[in-house]
């Protein structure tokens, strides 16, 4: 009895077909995007980075083309996370785990690594043989070259990552001259090793054992979700088939295991929907290839919904019952290949689409109406108010003026809702309220005191208005006055 089981290594066989082609295209597009994106430029004017996609950790700014995000606007990040999550739910409800099968970095890089493996060592059987063979010079160089290429890809992955957090051309020249910072080197090493390990060794185990999304995506499935499904009513009973044998009283599955050997997850799709299945469709390609050679219709394995499957099984049972009753075998009877009917519009997909629309609109609104000046005011509470010698009452406020524009600005502060006897700034030197200077791209902090001569005791709602005399635009902030 074994207490721990060695994971069986999976040797996915090469496959050609529609879904494999789609996967290649998606892979090239995504990897291309990943490597090229940091090199895109976007002119924002002087003294501001011109990198289109740039997360400036030291400057505490995020840049995405025309969008600029300050730490205060981190709610946009929350919006992006919500969009990403609901987008995943939406795609999963419609198409099953297509994210896993086509777009997930784990899948994309694993695919690339398997391709390298095949390129150097040959296809499934050759790789298997090589693994089983004793160490020879051939095995040594083939294995060595594979791992070397993997490490190079890993290094490029980590190398591209750091460009998102630094000015790419500057960093590249720094790296070239050997003076990249330790943090950059650390990130490259960490991502090189993690890519090498994840895509080279962990592979399908990441999806099966580590990934939480893989697990909870099944919660987004319903009976109308497209999943990869084998049609047992057409395929069974399966069995070996010799050329010339007829297809009476047997299914179309010839048990060639083509679907099993191409599976990157190492499962047999004919056992039905399984937790491991990442919906990549390679078994469909493999099976269709075989069906074509046998002159049988394709799609014995197909993207289909559970409802359609049940429906076809019902028809199939009925037909078999009919056949038994009439005893007329009808080999020409068309197999049930009614085009899968998919209910795209259903409460689940509508609600996901609705959430996507609402969150997307809110974010779009937030981005479009973004002001380059923001005013934040806190009423000082220790003490709430101060009585002066002449009986006047003074309140103090802490102002934060965010100048998100790329120019130095000088603002004028006004107060509404109360008759101010005095509105002045407490600072080093003389700072009049009409000349609150805030340099470009920065936050100005001011302590302001407001004095009034008379009024009823208690709290008065007031509003501070900050105006930029040049652009004539204002920012407002509500506060209160206590006496």
């Amino acid at each position: 009895m074994s207490y721990f089981e060695k994971a069986a290594k999976i040797y996915p066989r090469r496959v050609r077909g529609t879904f494999r082609t789609v996967k290649w295209i998606v892979m090239i597009a995504l990897l291309g995007l990943y490597y090229a994106a940091p090199w895109l430029r976007w002119d924002r004017g002087p003294h501001v980075p011109d990198q289109a996609i740039f997360i400036d950790l030291t400057g505490q700014r995020g840049y995405f083309f025309g969008i600029e995000i300050w730490p205060q606007e981190v709610y946009l990040l929350v919006g992006i996370l919500i969009l990403a999550a609901i987008g995943l739910f939406f795609a999963t409800a419609l198409l099953g785990r297509v994210w896993c099968g086509y777009a997930c970095p784990q899948t994309v890089w694993t695919d690339l690594f398997v391709w390298v493996e095949r390129f150097v060592q040959g296809d499934r059987n050759a790789r298997k043989k090589l693994d089983d063979s004793r160490w020879t010079v051939e095995k040594l160089w083939k294995k060595g070259l594979t791992h070397l290429i993997w490490l190079v890809i890993g290094a490029l992955t980590g190398g591209a990552w750091v460009f998102y957090f630094n000015d790419a051309p500057t960093l590249l020249s720094d790296m070239w001259h050997g003076d990249a910072s330790w943090s950059v080197i650390g990130w490259i090493v960490a991502l090189t090793l993690s890519t090498y390990f994840m895509a080279g060794f962990a592979r399908e185990n990441v999806c099966t054992y580590m990934c939480p999304y893989a697990r909870f995506q099944s919660a987004m499935f319903d009976k109308d979700t497209l999943i990869i499904s084998y049609q047992p009513e057409r395929g069974e009973p399966r069995g070996k088939h010799k050329k010339g044998d007829n297809w009476d009283n047997r299914g179309h599955c010839i048990d060639c295991t083509a679907c099993v050997v191409v599976c990157p997850m190492g499962i047999d799709i004919r056992d039905g929907l399984q937790m491991e299945c990442i919906s990549c469709g390679l078994c469909i390609d493999a099976c269709n290839d075989v069906m074509k050679k046998l002159d049988l219709p394709g799609d014995l394995i197909r993207y289909d919904t559970e409802n359609n499957q049940t429906h076809r099984l019902d028809i199939s049972f009925r037909r078999r019952a009919d056949r038994a009753a009439t005893v007329v075998a009808d080999p020409t009877a068309p197999s049930v290949r009614a085009k899968p009917r998919v209910r795209w519009v259903r409460p689940r997909t509508i609600s996901y689409a609705l959430i996507l629309t609402v969150v997307g609109s809110v974010m779009l609104g937030a981005i479009l109406t973004r002001q380059t000046t923001e005013l934040n005011i806190i009423h000082n509470r220790a003490p709430q108010f101060v009585r002066l010698s002449d009986g006047d009452v003074r309140n103090a406020y802490s102002l934060k003026i965010l100048n998100k524009s790329h120019e130095d600005r000088r603002y004028t502060l006004l107060v509404e809702g109360v008759v101010a006897r005095d509105l002045s700034v407490l600072a080093a030197g003389d700072v009049p309220v009409t000349h609150l200077s805030v340099p470009a791209n920065s936050v100005g902090e001011f302590r302001v005191r407001l004095t009034t001569s008379n009024g009823a005791p208690g709290r008065t709602d007031i509003r501070f208005v900050l105006t930029d005399p040049v652009t004539r635009r204002s920012a407002r902030h509500d506060s209160y006055f206590v006496r």
């Binding site: 009895m1 074994s2 054992y209 101060v386 080093a428 302590r447």
Partner: protein, 294 residues
């Protein structure tokens, strides 16, 4: 149950080998954990042992294992504090050499001094003057514009240094007689002078009632030397201004009568030997910046 028997027992529905353990007809399936999991587990154990060797880990009688790296939390704190002190020292050197005027003109230096002063204030002054310097009965509010001994930053600095009625030889030494308790004035006179003092903020517009006029005479004979004509106060003597809206011990008649009867004598310690000069200067700048500084 023999070993051979359960080695071969296979569960029917799942086709999985059982462990041979059975409870009321329920048999445990043997689905072994993956080997990589075992390896990760072993690695963590090795890691933990390495950690025990390198870092402080196990309690021992009267202490704990020290670890070969010699790492301690105190050491970490010390290193971090040293780093902060180093960063501060540039500013401190600059601040040390600068006069109050120079500090006020330099925004960075001013904010540095204010921040240091704020910390020192919360540690040393807030107990009496309040966290925001708002004061309370008997402890002056430092936010307002009424100063017993002057509100210029130099005055504040001096007051922090010498205190009030403290052990410092140059301390502020204002002393008001206990007019009632010592029998200098009788109760009626005190009542009159309280009426007069309460009306002082109104200045010349105060209605000249009988009590007011009597009080005015008492004031002129007993109070004017220190508190000045019309209650303008005298900072040299530390005699509070009486013609304003601010009352350290309460502005109602009962409080004023009590003040005149028994006198008041608040005490502030000298900070000369408790805080170094730079901290006191930072404190002065902070207090001055609360809003009432002159």
């Amino acid at each position: 149950m023999s070993k051979d028997k359960h080695d071969k027992e296979i569960d029917g529905p799942t086709g999985v080998e059982t462990t041979g353990h059975e409870w009321d007809g329920l048999k445990e399936l043997n689905n072994p954990a993956p080997r990589w999991w075992l390896i990760v587990w072993l690695v963590t154990i090795v890691w933990a042992i390495g950690y025990w060797v390198v870092y402080p880990a196990w309690p021992t009688p009267g202490g704990h294992t020290k670890g070969v790296a010699g790492w301690t939390q105190y050491g970490k704190l010390k290193r971090e504090q040293a780093e902060i002190t180093k960063r501060q020292s540039t500013w401190l050197t600059k601040f040390h050499a600068a006069s109050f005027e120079q500090v006020k003109a330099d925004k960075g230096l001013y904010e540095f001094a204010r921040a240091g002063g704020e910390v020192a204030f919360k540690e040393n002054c807030a107990a009496c003057h309040g966290a925001g310097g708002e004061g309370r009965k008997g402890y002056p509010n430092l936010n307002d514009d009424d100063w017993l001994f002057g509100g210029k930053v130099e005055d504040i600095y001096h007051t922090i240094k010498v205190g009030s009625r403290s052990s410092h030889p140059e301390t502020h030494q204002a002393m008001m007689p206990a007019f009632g308790r010592d029998g200098i004035l009788d109760a009626a006179q005190i009542d009159d002078v309280a009426t007069y003092v309460m009306a002082l903020p109104q200045g010349a517009t105060a209605p000249r009632a009988d009590a007011f006029v009597r009080g005015e005479a008492v004031y002129a004979a007993n109070c004017v030397t220190c508190h000045g004509d019309g209650g303008i106060g005298n900072r040299e003597l530390g005699a509070p201004r009486l013609n304003d809206a601010i009352w350290l011990y309460g502005g109602d008649k009962a409080s004023i009568i009590q003040t005149v009867t028994s006198a008041r004598a608040g005490v502030m310690p000298t900070w000369e030997n408790r805080l170094d000069d730079d901290t006191r200067r930072q404190l002065a700048i902070y207090v001055h910046s609360l809003g009432g500084g002159e």
